[in-house]
């Protein structure tokens, strides 16, 4: 396990690359969900104003 993590001495580079990739994709997913929620709430509020409930 430790040997695998060390990546033959290149651990910092390899995990630095993979770690940032995971963070970037995770950040994009979070941003997507938040944008979706915001847009949904606005569209819903607007629909209620227009058509009344």
């Amino acid at each position: 396990m430790m040997e695998w993590l060390a990546m033959g001495g290149y651990g910092g580079y390899v995990w630095g690359a993979y770690g940032v990739a995971v963070i970037a994709i995770g950040a994009e997913c979070i941003a997507l969900v938040r944008r979706r929620r915001r847009a949904f709430a606005r569209a819903r509020a607007e629909a209620e104003v227009n058509h009344g409930d």
Binding site: Y10, A43, H51
Partner: protein, 246 residues
């Protein structure tokens, strides 16, 4: 042409995108897991580069996606300017952040691979410089669109920028042939047999497919949010927004 316009309407596309997106994410996650297993565990250490070479399993797919997404974005720009379909403009905007993310990853992972392999995180080599310009094009596209108040004019300006900027993509792709670059030439091409071991190639292709599916899923989700933002108040949205957020 009629069917094209029908599917190019946000009202038709909104539920379709919502139904498709999860499947793309599931497929991307499964392939991504398989690709990571091959790349980080199953594939052997490279005899020249040691384990540092394992960075290519994200570097190459990210670099491919960064260029490919830009071309698709510009193609939507052409569609929007010529046919004036609103959905094309929305798809164009939906792709930009994902493209920028992959471009950043290509640069970042390239730097971390370059340091142990070349001895430098960065060199002003034609390949690296043109890829950096690609990142600026993505950021410029998003900034330009955000800076213009009227969405139609914003789309028009952004589409033009996307189309003009596409000239940079062949420059990136062929830079390793046109100039003497520190960056190596293509390891995988359609015309020659790949210059790498089969398992390494398989891992890289699986990771690329996963990146592809992820990009499609992410842009479908984002285009849904954009549709909601732009069409808020439209009659057809009524049935989609009452009830719980899905």
């Amino acid at each position: 042409m009629r069917w094209l316009y029908r599917y190019a309407s946000p009202a038709t596309f909104y539920p379709v995108a919502g139904a498709l997106a999860p499947w793309f994410f599931v497929a991307a996650a499964l392939l991504g897991a398989a690709g990571l297993y091959i790349g980080l565990i199953a594939a052997p250490t490279d005899f020249q580069q040691g384990d540092a070479y394992r960075i290519i399993y994200i570097h190459v797919p990210a670099a491919w996606m960064s260029m490919f997404i830009y071309v698709v974005m510009a193609a939507y720009g052409v569609l929007f300017l010529s046919l004036n379909t609103r959905l094309s403009a929305m798809m164009m905007s939906a792709l930009a952040p994902t493209g920028a993310m992959f471009t950043f990853l290509a640069l970042w992972t390239g730097a971390l691979w370059g340091r142990p392999t070349w001895g430098a995180y960065w060199v002003w080599d034609a390949r690296l410089t043109s890829e950096l310009i690609l990142l600026f094009l993505y950021l410029g596209f998003m900034a330009l669109q955000a800076a213009i108040e009227d969405p139609r004019r914003a789309d028009r300006a952004a589409a033009l920028l996307a189309i003009v900027g596409v000239v940079n993509v062949p420059i990136i792709y062929f830079s390793v042939q046109w100039w003497n670059t520190l960056h190596q030439g293509a390891s995988v091409s359609l015309t020659a047999s790949p210059k790498m071991a089969r398992i390494m190639l398989t891992g890289m292709l699986i990771m690329s497919l996963a990146a592809w599916l992820y990009a499609i899923g992410a842009s479908l989700l984002r285009v849904r949010a954009i549709i909601l933002e732009r069409e808020a108040g439209a009659e057809w949205l009524q049935g989609h927004v009452d009830g719980k957020a899905r």
